[in-house]
């Protein structure tokens, strides 16, 4: 019991370090602590719960190998966002590639974006966000959806902070146009 309590009180960086040294309990604790973050970010990227679950499972599968590339610098959460974004992007590409085959094999037809928990205005806004180009969509999702700073978003997107600011500015302009077109 004491070991579990001790493990849970460790920081993300310490847990990741232990996991890299082969401590399975530390890795389990890391997954348990951040699963909600993974699925939340995946859901904001896709807008569909089934896809978010697929992406999150993919993240959990990738994490052991990806952990080896973690530089032990910076925040673990910021680095984890990068893994989630990569998985969401790969999943989106794969879905576009073999979507027809998957739909044909699916036991249930794909569902529309889950809007049960969002009010109509926010749902429309998310729908517009998902029509943005990928980089702008990622920037808006992380800055506004996840509340990251531009610096952290830049670290997660592997680009300069100024580039994030540019993507956010361009996204706001594009979103304004999209919302006006929809209202008209």
């Amino acid at each position: 019991m004491r070991v579990v309590v001790e493990i849970k009180s460790l920081s993300d960086a310490e847990l990741a370090g232990r996991a890299l040294d082969g401590d399975r309990t530390a890795f389990a604790c890391l997954l348990d602590r951040h699963y909600d973050l993974f699925e939340r970010a995946a859901y904001r990227c896709s807008g569909r719960r089934d896809e978010a679950e697929d992406v999150t499972q993919d993240v959990c599968l990738r994490l052991p190998k990806a952990l080896r590339s973690w530089s032990r610098e910076g925040q673990f959460e910021t680095w984890a966002y990068k893994v989630v974004l990569n998985a969401a992007r790969d999943h989106g590409r794969k879905r576009a590639r073999d979507g027809r085959l998957k739909d044909a094999w699916a036991a249930e037809p794909p569902q529309d974006p889950d809007t049960s928990s969002e009010d109509a205005a926010v749902a429309r806004l998310w729908a517009a966000v998902r029509h943005l180009p990928p980089k702008q969509r990622m920037a808006v999702t992380l800055v506004y959806g996840e509340g990251l700073s531009h610096a952290d978003t830049a670290a997660a997107m592997d680009c300069a902070e100024a580039t994030v600011s540019y993507h956010v500015h361009a996204a706001r302009t594009r979103l304004r146009t999209l919302m006006e077109e929809e209202a008209a």
Partner: protein, 120 residues
């Protein structure tokens, strides 16, 4: 617009407990394969994975391998009574058809007739 965008940080649906448990279990399975390779389950999964690699290289019932990877994983898991999350079946980065194997052996892509004619 700024106020509207701030509303994007709303609640999202809570994770499903079963999906959460399955994903974490799969992650731990992947961890075992990556770091320890010691647990019985992952060792069996590795052996089965090797068997699958061999089967894939043989031209037997080729159309069988055009079925989704998830279905194969479910079949294997049911066969050896292991959780399906123990199985991570890779398509080697190809398009879900096992390295073009199914495509090459598809009945619609038979070799030209002259190749089927026995030599004189």
């Amino acid at each position: 617009m700024t106020d509207d965008l701030d509303r994007l940080r709303g609640d999202v649906p809570a994770p499903h407990p079963a999906a959460r448990a399955a994903a974490i279990g799969a992650g731990l399975g992947a961890y075992d394969q990556e770091y320890t390779k010691q647990t019985q389950g992952s060792a069996r999964a590795t052996r089965l994975s090797n068997v699958l690699q061999i089967i894939r290289s043989k031209p037997v019932v080729p159309h069988l391998f055009s079925i989704p990877r998830a279905a194969i994983a479910t079949l294997l898991a049911a066969t050896v009574a292991l959780p399906v999350t123990q199985f991570v079946i890779s398509d080697g980065g190809n398009r879900g058809n096992f390295g073009g194997f199914a495509r090459r052996w598809s009945p619609s892509r038979r070799p030209p007739r002259h190749r089927l004619t026995p030599p004189p």
